[in-house]
Symmetry: C2
Subunit: 189 residues, 2 copies
Amino acid sequence: MTKRGATLSTSDARRDAVVDAAIAEFARGGYHSTPISAVAARADISPAYVFKLFPGKVSLFVAALDRCYELVAHALSHGAARAGDADPEKILYEMGGAYADLIADRNLLMLQVHAQSAADTPEIADAVRRGLAKVTELAQARSGAEAGQVQRFVAYGQLCHLIATLDLDEHTGGWAAVLAAGIRHPGKP
Amino acid sequence: MTKRGATLSTSDARRDAVVDAAIAEFARGGYHSTPISAVAARADISPAYVFKLFPGKVSLFVAALDRCYELVAHALSHGAARAGDADPEKILYEMGGAYADLIADRNLLMLQVHAQSAADTPEIADAVRRGLAKVTELAQARSGAEAGQVQRFVAYGQLCHLIATLDLDEHTGGWAAVLAAGIRHPGKP
DNA sequence: CCGTCGAGTGATTGACCAGTCACTCACAAT
DNA sequence: ATTGTGAGTGACTGGTCAATCACTCGACGG
């Protein structure tokens, strides 16, 4: 997290704004089909200036991804806090609910999907591993659950990504209802 | 499945070869960063001829994806057959094993990952939904398992994709071992 | 021997995009 | 007033890629 609230030079503020724009744009188009100019336009600056704030396209994507996992970790942490000191299963359930709330707008979710697909770029793969490590360790530490429960937690998170990406719900067909059952659908209460 | 073995004009044989090449190349680079010329080179034809065999890049990708899900369905079907009429849980377990064997070379796995990321193209999203419907219905019908078990089956399949994409194994760190526990790692016995 | 039909290609076009560079402009300190 | 500094941009470059088209070549029937 860049030190928001601390004295903040204009260019650091810009950098943060560009990261926000990058999350939105990369979530829409993915890494390879999102031009820097789209991010620049959303942040209301010129494409050239993006390259003064970040050394290249990859590092901008990585910055967006780092921020994404930061937000996810933050949400999970709050979910765990909300559950208090219930049993592990219940704490994981609350964390899942907090995650569902966070990704309701789909940006953070799609960014993760696109990142997985772009993981042949080593810097991106590293960022995903870093983020996933943080999330996994946080889920395990805060819930006190066994490894198998944490594994299931992440697996259903991945399933949730698939469901959201494909816009599945019961009206898509019986098979879709099987996959989506009990998964809080992003964008719906 | 294209009628392999039936009398087959030269151009149909080419089309099949191009689909094979497309699976390999799209699995490497994903949809947006794989040029048609790469597929053409692997199939030993000119890029121009690819456009005579397929109306455009999207339909080539969709053809590759359709074939991918065909192979997956075939593998699951064999896994189910191997299990005989054991209990549903055991049949699903065998199907999972058959899937792990199939995707040992990662091409079919990575193609699915890339397809999910490219699902903002409607034709691709349709193809993924079609394939996933086939797989889900097959798993349910052949195993006789309840919806919840089938859902878990697919969720762990997605987790398996994540693990393979990021090359996770126990030596990546403790958190990776949590996620990868009991998952047959592609490319290892 | 000729025509034609399908396989296959070379060359090109038009668009797009990552990254660079020289430049302007506003402002602050001396 | 002058100078220095950092924010911000316009214009350009080199390269890539999807798609098109006119073309060649060989096989095969008459």
